[in-house]
């Protein structure tokens, strides 16, 4: 065991322009008082940034099956959501915690602040977690969430989506995103989906229906691969005096 920190740290590659939303995006009204006005200052990647929590978190037996967390089965279309977590070098991201949360089949969240007149489902909480395997694969079972109204603008409805939170293997790889469903008619009207400038990048948030992964007379299946940042090609050299 050495006693010195590494003198060369290989950082993580920046995202291509247009991949991530700009924080200042007036069409999504909540950004108005929350998006910082100053430009961020560059943080070159050093040891704190290329390390990160390798936690699997508090995991219970039904954490990857959101349909089995209560006495009865939830209402709605049962689905399997699965995929791989990779980095942009094509390497799988193993043993990483994936946290998900979503509305129920009627489009209502089991959250005290969601009060629109759609029914709560006593058999559905809508939160789950799963850890990727050694090849970066994950899979969970849930029900297809409904669309729901929000007050961003007149008659605003969010397309159905599942929230995803991932750690990866480094602080720089942290990602929170939303998975959408194919052919949702609400896409053109949603300022959150459309906050991603690049159209091809936007489409990477849409899962694909996968007939081969469905379970006959049980569940439909959607594939959603998630890609986190990969490494820089050249290490960052500490300018030691």
């Amino acid at each position: 065991m050495t006693t010195s920190p590494p003198t060369h740290v290989r950082g993580y590659a920046p995202a291509p322009a247009g991949t991530h939303p700009n924080l200042d995006w007036p069409a999504y009204r909540s950004t108005e008082l929350r998006a910082p006005k100053h430009r961020p200052i560059l943080l070159p990647h050093r040891l704190t940034e290329v390390t990160g929590p390798l936690l699997t978190g508090p995991a219970g037996p039904a954490d990857n099956d959101l349909t089995r967390q209560h006495a009865g089965e939830p209402q709605g279309q049962r689905i399997i959501v699965f995929g791989r977590v990779l980095d942009s070098d094509g390497r799988p991201v193993p043993d990483t915690l994936v946290e998900v949360w979503q509305a129920n089949a009627a489009g209502r969240y089991a959250h005290q602040n969601d009060n629109w007149p759609a029914p709560l489902d006593p058999n559905f909480t809508g939160s789950g977690r799963v850890v990727t395997d050694s090849l970066g694969n994950y899979s969970f079972t849930t029900i297809k969430p409904g669309a729901y109204p929000w007050r961003n603008h007149h008659n605003a409805w969010r397309p159905a989506h599942i929230h995803f939170s991932l750690f990866g293997r480094a602080f720089t790889q942290r990602l929170v995103t939303q998975m959408y469903f194919p052919d949702d008619p609400l896409f053109p009207y949603d300022p959150i989906f459309n906050s991603v400038p690049d159209e091809a990048a936007r489409k990477r948030m849409i899962a694909t229906f996968d007939l081969d992964a469905t379970k006959p007379e049980w569940a439909l299946a959607y594939r959603f691969d998630i890609v986190l940042r990969g490494r820089e090609q050249t290490p960052f050299e500490e300018p030691h005096a």
Binding site: T2, R34, V50, F171, I192
Partner: protein, 179 residues
């Protein structure tokens, strides 16, 4: 090569998915050398942000990470804290003061803030007020305009307590970092 998945906001119901009962306990409350780092997240109107999550990542008291990238080997230190903000915008993490890594940087904690209204996380760093010499030599702090540097410094708040308020926008806006 696969292309990156874009970021999206955590939305207003993040508590459903991101609540951990011991999230704020990087170490137990009664651990030797435990410190409390706490503060309030406010918006551009100075109002509290009640639907944010503050996440912290740091070295242990000896400046090491329990991670394969640190050749010194790990101590089993979790290093990670997560606290959802309360209705008054407050958050609180129990940890130990990070040691100097030994690469010329002052002791620091990396911080992510995610919230409704933030389409991507914002990142900042906590530095410590009792590390004046180390802070003066820190390579990141040297790139921050002098008049904004204080937003990255925790404020002493009694024995073992440090206050770090996060102002997302407006007067005294916290310095955020591009990672």
């Amino acid at each position: 090569m696969p292309e990156l998945t874009p970021s999206q906001t955590v939305g207003p119901y993040l508590a459903l998915g991101l609540t951990w009962p011991d999230g704020h306990l990087v170490v137990p409350e009664d651990a030797p050398g435990a410190i409390v780092v706490h503060g309030v997240v406010t918006d551009g109107a100075g109002e509290p942000v009640p639907d944010a999550v503050v996440e912290t990542w740091q070295a242990d008291a000896d400046g090491r990470f329990d991670h394969p990238e640190d050749p010194r080997g790990g101590s089993g230190f979790r290093g990670f804290g997560r606290c959802l903000t309360a209705p008054d915008g407050s958050w609180r993490v129990v940890s130990v003061k990070p040691g100097a890594i030994g690469d010329g940087q002052a002791p620091h904690i990396d911080v992510s803030v995610l919230a409704r209204g933030l389409l991507d996380r914002v990142v900042t760093r906590i530095y410590f007020p009792d590390e004046q010499a180390a802070n003066a030599a820190d390579p990141l702090l040297a790139t921050v305009p002098q008049e904004r540097r204080s937003t990255l410094l925790a404020v002493p708040d009694g024995p073992g307590r440090f206050r770090f308020d996060i102002r997302l926008q407006g007067e005294g806006e916290t310095v955020f970092l591009a990672v």
